[in-house]
Amino acid sequence: MQTSRVSEWLDRHMGRLFLMPAVVLILVFSIFPLVASLIIAFARIRLTGGGFSVRFVGLRNFEKQFFGSEQFHLLGTFTDISVIGLLFGLLATLGLIWWMVLYVRAHFSVVGFLGRMITFLMALGLAWLFSATLLSGNLFGTLGTTLFYVFVGCGIQFLIGTALAYACSFQFRGTTSFRVIFFVPMMITPIGVGYIFRMMADTTKGPFSGVWQWVGLGEFAWASDPWAARIFIVVADSWQWIPFVFIMLLAAFESVPRDFTEAAELDGANAWQKFTEITWPHVLPVAATVMLIRVIEAFKIVDLPNIMTSGGPGIATESVSLQSYFAWRSLDLGQASAIAYVLLFVTVIICVSFFNLVVLARVRKAS
């Protein structure tokens, strides 16, 4: 009697019991730390012996990052805005307002409007940050560097990865071995990639030192030039992650029905038309999802800058994650959490916007 009631209860709640471990683990190791991190971000914490003491300072940690002594570090240095910067900022503002107006006039819903408003504000802020720092000839901080890694890096990876995948989707001798070769860098640990590319980039003893001498850059230390260092990190990152885009898009290209392209060819379509009219629309949803995954992971970049340059020269290659890690290492937990929260904020808004406006838009259109 007793056992049957227990087993009955178990049967009724088995679904929940299956789901529970995952939910509990995420609550304990993900949601609770998330809340705790927010609390820490409003405090100044000192590690004392075995424990720690907490003093609440309100928004001061964020204030220091955005307006105070750390402004140059996170956002960049601000002086007068240049003409180009002003023009770009105004153009971006007008473009964004126009985009909002188009949306409101086409279809309006409260949730959609609020969501787009958040995207709008974030894009506006980033556009003005861009024009006030880079376009005005000022240094930019870790946020700008991270966005550079994300957008330039992911853009390069997307273009090259897609091109390689398309090339390998044709039937010819040797595709299998090309596939295996192209896939390999993804398996190499990011730390290893960092050190390998430091060897590659060595201008005196590296493999290309002959080339460097020949173009007269033999004494050029790439790690002490901000842009050279940033670009090297993007190259290393792309070397590692193009295989990911490649392998996913290759599978997508191969799932395009062969009849479609062959029918188009019979109708006299040229290669470009075949690609844009038939293959690409078929692949686009996968491409959008793949890029979303890449962008999400790219925002977390920390090992390559840490290994290749330790964030230097100065702060030129430091990502937001790395800045937070350095703050933690100097035992400033409040600042570390505040910086991490800025990263979280930017990441979530950009990724959710991308998801809603690009990935879901396709799904909505298709259904």
Partner: protein, 349 residues
């Protein structure tokens, strides 16, 4: 007559679905160039690990036996002189990656199965109540120095006493899709955001620098990947078998173990491989959570930078090689599965 024919064969495809010779030449050139770009750094890594110190320091040498005499001194240093560090880190990495993967696959595929088969309808208000209590507990422990055991017990008691009553106030039901999205969206969370509290949590229960702490953390950061991939995989399995098993009186555990898991071997293989690689290469969390005893390979590699003599490129190359060899072998063997396993998820989003 011959000339147009020759041009035709060079620039025009001989048949539908095939390529012209010119296209082929361009294609091969591009692909070979890219192969060189991909393989050369790896080749350089391999030969550097066999170079003598002089061969590294005196400028670039490219070909073993011709440019320089290969030597095993780096490998000797790694496996004879520093064998204790090397083997400990290697052992730690293997134990941590495999345990975390096993745990993540188990917990994650159970959750994914439940989400794909059982209808859940949790009340949003109850969840908000729970999160509110969690935050209050955090504040109480953090600011007012309440003992964390007392705070946790009070919060749990309050939750169970009032959950029903508060849940009845207002009904706002979530669906399976919302739970799935919640779990997957955890992947957006950069580890740096949560690592400081996790560090303090493990510090307060004296679990820093233990395998358990790293295994648990890795399990959680990889759960979203497992749930996402396995959910789509389970959804693609037809339900007839389960229904007939259910009529025969099989329980959910029985069905899961004897029907579902064997049927989804391909998906499990791909997911396992992916999660093993993610754990094997993870750097930032290990940097926080392991200092000495539980040090993993990425930390060992990164720590080699800190020596007085600068970077010992030869040893460094050898260490990186022993780190990537097992993964590369596994990946090449299972390459087909990876693309398929991941793509099931990617296509459906």
């Amino acid at each position: 007559m011959t000339k147009p024919a020759a041009r035709r064969s060079l620039f025009e495809p001989p048949d539908i679905g095939q390529m012209a010779t010119a296209t082929k030449i361009v294609l091969y050139t591009v692909l070979l160039a890219w192969s060189a770009f991909v393989l050369f750094p790896i080749y350089w890594l391999i030969i550097t690990s066999f170079k003598t110190i002089a061969a590294v320091n005196q400028g670039p040498y490219f070909l073993p036996w011709i440019d320089f005499e290969p030597s095993l001194h780096a490998w000797k240093e790694l496996f004879v002189n520093d064998y204790r560090d090397t083997f400990r880190a290697y052992f730690n990495s293997i134990v941590i990656s495999l345990s975390a993967t096993a745990l993540a696959i188990l917990v994650g595929s159970m959750a994914a199965y439940a989400l794909s088969r059982v209808k859940f309808a949790p009340n949003l208000i109850t969840i908000l109540y729970f999160v509110g209590l969690l935050a209050l507990t955090g504040v109480a422990v953090g600011i007012y120095d309440v003992d964390w055991r007392v705070a946790a017990a009070t919060a749990i008691a309050l939750f169970f006493f009032l959950a029903r009553a508060i849940g009845r106030l207002y009904q706002l039901r979530l669906q399976n899709g919302d739970i799935l999205f919640w779990i997957i969206s955890q992947r957006i969370l950069a580890p740096i955001v949560v690592v400081v509290p996790i560090y303090m949590m493990f510090q307060s229960v004296r679990l820093l620098d233990t395998h358990l702490a790293i295994i648990l953390t890795y399990t959680v950061i990889n759960l979203p990947v497992v749930v996402w991939l396995m959910y789509d995989f389970f959804n693609s399995i037809p339900r007839d078998l389960e229904e007939s098993a259910q009529l025969d009186g099989a329980t959910m555990i029985g069905i899961f173990r004897e029907i579902i898991l064997p049927l989804s071997r391909a998906g499990l293989a791909a997911t396992t491989l992916l999660v093993v690689i993610l754990c094997w290469n993870e750097y930032l969390l290990a940097l926080f959570l392991s200092t000495n005893k539980a040090q993993t390979m990425p930390i060992l590699v990164a720590a080699m930078n800190a020596g007085e003599r600068g970077i010992l490129w030869w040893t460094m190359s050898a260490v990186i090689m022993i780190m990537i060899i097992p993964v590369v072998i596994m990946a090449i063997l299972l390459q087909k599965y990876i693309a398929k396993g991941i793509l099931v998820g990617a296509v459906k989003g």
